[in-house]
């Protein structure tokens, strides 16, 4: 049994404009100690889906199931969720400045996290642990900086603080929602390195949400490609980069510039994401898909296995390519499987 099993998760919001179906029948597994990357354009439901699992989505209609260590999280009581959040599932977010409370020192915020779940820990012990954690994520002079406020740290250092806090209780799962998007390039690489080191040390599973296929190539074991609230394709990293089946995934990969070129956020495919208010019975990608044919406009494709690799599924009506194999030499994790330069040079921020 996987650490986290998400099945048929749907999340919709009632708005004055209509019902926004932000997530539609999402399913994936996260294995212990492994990294699952979730990629997709802005608005594809990456944040909403993960926040729903931890009960942070408010005012939404939710259906489906999310089994964490075999326990259902969707619809769990507030007190159950409180025990899971922080202690078993740590979370870090995109903007580390706004994600830390501006009025409290970083030490206070980490100590609060520890003592919320381990009430028997003395203030002194929690503080010592906080300083240790700050050192672990690479903050120099951690025992002094523990009394500084978030605004006294640089962006990268703040994100390290967030990581230290999220990892304070050695959670089984870390959900990192675009942890490096707000950071500049050299800092991105360092922060990812910190995450990877901690993951190895604590054997933590990670859900890594990102726009950046370079980050996926460096960090992930498995990849989920999301579009309009559903999974378009799901595969182990190497399979996805080499044998992608879905035209949407191919579009994303094609948008990666050649080695040495500038790496930008994903705006690769002509057209805009569909309105989430209109759930018509067709492939959600059809209006933008270069390979779309009749059937795509009338029937929604299921997520089915598409190659020898049973882990490889795609939601697309194109013929399943079961002839492919993994015979090519494939670089190890952290290497460069496609023409992606894993040590990023420049990053265009569209934010």
């Amino acid at each position: 049994m996987a650490l986290l099993e998400v099945r048929d998760l749907s999340v919709s919001f009632h708005t004055p404009d209509g019902v926004v179906e932000a997530v539609r029948g999402l399913s994936y597994d996260v294995e212990r100690g492994k990294t699952l990357a979730i990629v997709g354009e802005s608005g594809s439901g990456k944040s909403v889906s993960t926040q729903t699992i931890t009960g942070l989505t408010r005012g939404a209609q939710i259906s489906g199931s999310a089994l964490f260590n075999g326990n259902e999280l969707l619809g769990a009581s507030a007190s159950t969720l409180q025990k899971v959040r922080g202690a078993q599932i740590g979370m870090i977010f995109q903007d580390p400045l706004s994600s830390l409370h501006p009025y409290y020192t970083v030490g206070w915020q980490i100590v609060e996290m520890i003592r919320a779940h381990r009430k028997e820990t003395s203030k002194k012990a929690a503080r010592a642990r906080a300083a240790e954690l700050l050192g672990l994520v690479g903050i120099p002079r951690a025992s002094q900086r523990i009394d500084d406020f978030p605004h006294q740290f640089s962006g990268g250092m703040r994100q390290r603080v967030m990581i230290a806090m999220a990892m304070a209780l050695d959670p089984a799962l870390l959900i990192a929602d675009e942890p490096t998007t707000a950071l500049d390039v050299t800092v991105q690489a360092q922060v990812l390195e910190v995450m990877r080191t901690l993951q190895q040390e604590f054997d933590t599973a990670i859900i890594l949400i990102t726009h950046d296929l370079g980050v996926v190539a460096e960090m992930s074991d498995d990849v989920v490609v999301m579009y309009a609230g559903t999974v378009m394709e799901k595969a182990p990293r190497r399979t996805l980069f080499y044998l992608s089946h879905n035209p949407y995934t191919k579009g994303l990969l094609a948008s990666l510039p050649a080695r040495g070129g500038r790496r930008g956020r994903l705006t690769p495919i002509l057209g805009t994401p569909p309105s989430l208010i209109d759930p018509s019975e067709r492939c959600p990608f059809a209006p933008r898909c270069p390979s779309a044919f009749d059937r795509c406009w009338h029937e929604r494709p299921r997520l089915d296995p598409v190659s020898h690799d049973a882990e490889h599924t795609s939601a697309c009506w194109l013929p399943h390519d079961v002839a492919g194999g993994l015979d090519d030499p494939v670089p190890a994790r952290g290497g460069s499987p496609v023409d992606v330069n894993p040590a990023p040079e420049t990053q265009e921020e569209s934010a």
Partner: protein, 319 residues
């Protein structure tokens, strides 16, 4: 932090100095016969002459101003010929009364407003949110004198008719003569003042809380597995307090100069009532004294607010 404090105080002193200039220009230079006006309507010519001499009206204007300011610095607000008492004594008697009304009322409206605002913000658009909105707008839209009279009618007049007298019809009982009577005399004025202002604080708190509850750091607090109560109070409310404290300081500072309507309705001889009475009598020294005191209260309140701001927000504190 220290530099910030010094800058604020210097600015405050500058403002006070400008106010003395304005007061001096308005009351000493503008009227033709200052001594006559100051002496009051029934003064004899000898009194007028004496005042003219005492004020040094034969001196050049700059000298008169310097003397005026130096008297102020010595805590001398002048002499009230109408009541035959120093102005400081008149104002000194009125201040505790106004302070009693303002501080008590302010605490009540702050507690009510903040409590209602937080409750509304935690459950926006719920039944309780809407009820509290209606409740506070009802009192908000009511003129203070009407609310005061209604409270008097129900809690004094109607009760007394039934032979139950809890609250007096008005007037003041000094705190020094026992807190019981003081409170009984103050309850109705307090609620008159508080109910009208509470609405502002309910709306302000609600808006500020809703703002903050949408912040990323509140989401972080939830993601840490804190109880909802702790998320709301320690994380959201802590940050939402800043605009409330600012408004509170400014409001209290302004009211310390006199709560005119409430004091009148409940016959409380505080600064507001004293000022109105002095205006009716054209009792200039008292008017000047109250204007200066009220301005000083506003200036000091602003400095206190800024200090509080720095205490609340470390980002201000450290720059």
């Amino acid at each position: 932090m220290l530099r910030f404090l010094v800058r604020r105080i210097v600015l405050g002193i500058l403002v006070m100095w400008l106010i003395t200039l304005a007061v001096f220009a308005l009351f000493f230079i503008a009227p033709n016969d200052v001594a006559r006006t100051l002496a009051g309507r029934q003064a004899t010519p000898e009194t007028v002459a004496l005042i003219a001499h005492r004020l040094g009206l034969d001196q050049p204007i700059w000298k008169q101003y310097v003397d005026f300011v130096s008297r102020l610095l010595h805590g001398d607000l002048g002499y009230d010929y109408y009541h035959q008492t120093p102005v400081t004594q008149i104002i000194g008697a009125a201040i505790p009364i106004t302070l009693s009304v303002v501080i008590g009322g302010a605490i009540i409206w702050l507690v009510m407003g903040v409590f209602n605002g937080v409750v509304s913000a935690v459950r926006p658009r719920s039944f309780i949110d809407r009820s509290l909105t209606v409740f506070s707008l009802f009192f908000y839209s009511m003129p203070t004198f009407l609310l005061g009279l209604l409270l008097l009618y129900f809690f004094y007049f109607r009760l007394t008719l039934r032979g139950i007298t809890i609250f007096p019809a008005g007037g003041y009982a000094p705190l020094g003569e026992g807190p019981g009577q003081w409170v009984l005399h103050m309850v109705l004025p307090w609620f008159t003042l508080a109910l009208v202002s509470a609405a502002t604080y309910t709306r302000l708190t609600r808006a500020s809380m809703l703002d903050v509850l949408g912040e990323d750091y509140v989401r972080t607090a939830r993601s840490k597995g804190l109880s909802e109560r702790r998320v709301v109070m320690r994380h959201a409310f802590r940050a939402a307090m800043t605009p409330i404290v600012t408004q509170f300081g400014i409001d209290v500072g302004a009211l310390i100069g006199g709560v005119v309507v409430t004091e009148y309705v409940f016959s409380l001889p505080g600064l507001g009532k004293t000022a109105i009475d002095a205006i009716n009598l054209q009792d200039l020294p008292v008017i000047i004294g109250i204007v200066l005191f009220a301005s000083a209260a506003v200036v000091v309140a602003n400095i206190v607010v800024d200090l509080f701001y720095a205490v609340l927000d470390p980002r201000v504190r450290l720059h």
